[in-house]
Symmetry: C2
Subunit: 159 residues, 2 copies
């Protein structure tokens, strides 16, 4: 069975995002064992050094990664690769065919991920050319993973 | 002031999507007058002719468009143009600079929009190379419009 770890900076503030995530986690239950590692995002202001903030967040992410066995890291990155949903499903299928069943997705905070995290990622994934909130990215990602499961098992999924 | 009409096929079923939309409509209130034209999607099964279904939906959309004055139509289409959020904001800015203040966005049902609707659109917009539910597309679009307002008025919007 697929094991999915999601490392995220910051929480889902609004109740509707929490409920949207809960819905997709419920739908994904037959398909994957999921653990969410929710780390506290660094607060920052205009005068802070952005690199320092990203560095601090990277250290937290590395500490979380350290506890995940055989993590195949997929980092969400606005400069990452664009996939169609079908190609994303194929990508997951190819990994599981190679016995790579532990997928670790990482979503950064508002400033994005530090270079050191992007470097260790096996894949940098862009969900859209548009920028959107990391809360929405989280729900969007669950939906794509669920959609990939439906595609890979030949199920109908009218949206 | 900006006038935004949204023509959609089908409703937001889950309460969390309704709440997400309500949140963005609230945030957009100072920036735009918004009317949502929610049309009933055609039900269909495997054996139906997809073209016929899309044609029927197109007729409903045309009837709704008929009632909107000076509609500048932007159709959401998976084969449409990808924008960054900044370019999307610029696009809206350029339109309003030309006194084009009545933007009509159209989101189709699960089958997508009929060719006749795509043809009359001034812009075909793709939110992502990935396919996602039209419920999510609707919330995503509001977020991008809100983000565009923040960008165009030089406001900070940390996400």
């Amino acid at each position: 069975m697929l094991h999915i770890d999601l490392i995220v900076l910051g929480k889902l503030k609004e109740a509707f995002w929490q409920e949207a995530e809960a819905e997709y986690l419920k739908r994904l239950k037959p398909w994957a064992k999921i653990i969410i590692h929710q780390l506290r995002e660094e607060s920052f202001s205009e005068k802070d050094n952005i690199e320092n903030i990203k560095q601090k967040e990277a250290e937290k992410i590395l500490a979380a990664l350290d506890k995940i066995k055989d993590a195949h890291v997929i980092a969400l990155d606005e400069h990452g690769k664009n996939f169609s949903s079908i190609d994303f499903a194929k990508q997951i299928n190819q990994l599981t065919n190679q016995q790579i069943n532990n997928l670790t997705f990482i979503i950064g905070g508002p400033l994005g991920l530090h270079e050191s995290i992007l470097k260790l990622a096996k894949l940098k994934l862009s969900l859209s050319s548009m920028t959107f909130t990391h809360q929405m990215a989280r729900v969007f990602l669950w939906e794509q993973i669920y959609r990939a499961m439906m595609i890979n098992t030949g199920r109908n999924y009218h949206y």
